[in-house]
Symmetry: C2
Subunit: 346 residues, 2 copies
């Protein structure tokens, strides 16, 4: 992703909500990344303590956290905050201890958060409030076109990005007389991976690409071999008559995100064989088909495969949604056996 950003002349602001680890952050730094995104104030503080000084919190400001925001500004962190609401901008202006930059979040069709990019009056109201707030300045415009997660193929992802880019630049142009040099930042892993024409984009902000997962593989955003995390689960029981394997790996480890296979059967992960230095490709004929709190149930179609799996074995599972799985595990072991730090220990 660093290479792609360099090739297209955009700045990569990776989202640390996926790894939540300062060491993985430092791998990004080694690859040339200077600025990062977090999904919470607490996560921003964790990375700030590890030395990061340009951190965007990609979530609408919660003024109940103003003390923590001010603490980071006092630490010298160039904190960038998201605004979507005029009242919050006014209150931020009153309560913030030092100058702070904000991005206006635009909604270009995902319909989650953000000011409607087509509603110039609404955008202008927020911008005017920013202009009126002495310590608040406008850095740029941000759009998360998360609807790319619900597409069928590359063309649809590119179409969604083309729309988001067009709408964000329409807003930038409309504001250009009062606000010079506004940056346009767009983020989501499908788009950052698949879109090649980033004309009109200054910065990209994705997180899932750091690990990828089965959702991204099913959307043809990544290859199976791009998936960079697997869960190790011990086999604790086998049921001969149902051809089921029970593993210690449940909803408290994987979350309940799922996909549907070609027969419209829900599943919660694919099985790989853990090997020295990595893992095998996905094993056909076996899937993680049910989760309760601690139990995972593997259904095995292949008789020979079933007979090979023993209680006490440790299998690998590729996660459906790596962000949620990593958030639940709060821990990583590298292939060399080293444990990585995680926000949870902060």
């Amino acid at each position: 992703m660093c290479q792609k950003a360099a090739r297209l002349g955009v700045k990569l602001v990776p989202h640390m909500k996926t790894p939540q680890s300062t060491e993985i952050g430092s791998w990004c730094k080694a690859a040339g990344v200077e600025v990062i995104t977090t999904s919470s104030i607490k996560m921003a503080r964790y990375f700030a303590e590890a030395g990061w000084r340009d951190i965007t919190v990609a979530f609408p400001i919660n003024l109940l956290e103003i003390a923590e925001i001010n603490h980071m500004l006092d630490m010298g962190v160039d904190l960038k905050l998201f605004v979507v609401d005029t009242d919050v901008v006014a209150l931020l202006g009153e309560q913030v201890s030092r100058p702070v930059q904000v991005l206006i979040e635009l909604d270009a069709g995902y319909n989650r958060t953000g000011v409607d990019a087509d509603d110039l009056n609404a955008v202008r109201e927020v911008a005017a409030q920013i202009a009126a707030a002495e310590k608040v300045s406008l850095y740029g415009l941000y759009c998360h076109p998360g609807n790319t997660y619900h597409t069928n193929g590359i063309e649809e992802v590119r179409q969604i990005w083309a729309t988001a880019i067009k709408k964000a630049n329409f807003v930038r142009n409309a504001l250009s007389q009062e606000f010079e040099g506004l940056k346009v930042r767009i983020g989501d892993t499908p788009g950052c991976t698949l879109v090649e024409d980033m004309t009109g984009v200054d910065e990209i902000s994705a997180g899932n690409f750091i690990f990828y997962d089965l959702v991204m593989n099913y959307l043809d955003v990544c290859d199976e071999s791009d998936i960079a995390v697997a869960m190790a689960v011990p086999v604790v029981a086998r049921n001969e008559s149902r051809r089921q394997i029970t593993v210690h790996g449940g909803a408290v480890h994987f979350s309940k995100d799922h996909l549907f296979d070609e027969k419209e059967q829900k599943f919660f992960g694919e099985v790989v064989i853990l090997e020295e230095g990595g893992w095998s490709s996905i094993i056909p004929g076996i899937k993680l088909t049910a989760l309760s709190q601690e139990h995972g149930t593997l259904e095995v179609i292949d008789d020979e495969l079933f007979s090979e799996i023993k209680v006490g074995d440790v299998l690998g599972i590729l996660p459906i949604h790596s962000c949620l799985t990593a958030n639940l595990m709060k821990s990583y072991t590298t292939l060399e056996g080293r444990h990585l730090p995680h926000l949870e220990q902060f």
Copy 2:
């Protein structure tokens, strides 16, 4: 639940997987509970360190954790383990440092784990292996009829329990010549709450009842007023045109368990107003209808209600599945403002 157990003459062995807090455990102790259940070895150790000395780990033994099992036996914990597999019993017998009691997990139709209760040969094989293992003794038979979670009403729950009780006693009778005084333990919140005829049951083991939740309320297992946890979520944005409220409360807080309302619309929680000393009943016309990693989206049908909710407000959300929500939050504040300890800090 303590009163019900006393009334029916069964021993309550509550499952701590739901609260995961030694202080909530101590509230159970104050109500007369002497023995508890946990879902993992790590959770057992946490409660052992808090003084509990009779702990059942309600999950098939994972022998990769034998060192930790032996450590707790050396601490003097009367650890009770689940067995479903002859080979594991044999290995446990070789590897365990001191005498340990086990329960054979029976499957009476839930089809998750356990030896098929109808397959007496299979049960006898496991029992024979226990008899042959010098340090392993058989305490009883356990059945988790989790299919009660997928029922329509009290009668179906009672029917499932009647079947489980009958099957477990069939096995107990078949083993009675070799094994005297075997206990029958049955567990799940719908059954423990709704079943009145517990003839043939010695012990009951449920966890969710400690908090209950919307799933239990939708199944008519509990009243809305029995739900004992609510999540406090700050309002961070409102969208006038879509009548949507954004809160800081997403999949990393609630998990993605959901229910369907009367219009078959998926939802992730109900809204209550937090008040001194508790919270209101469920507010009609507003529901948590979408979750991403950190964002929760409330859809508001009622115009007046929408106009009343402001950015900066803190709303309460009753969780769909309290076990998973509590597991993600890893923290509680009582109505008096006191923080409770949690396994996560162990």
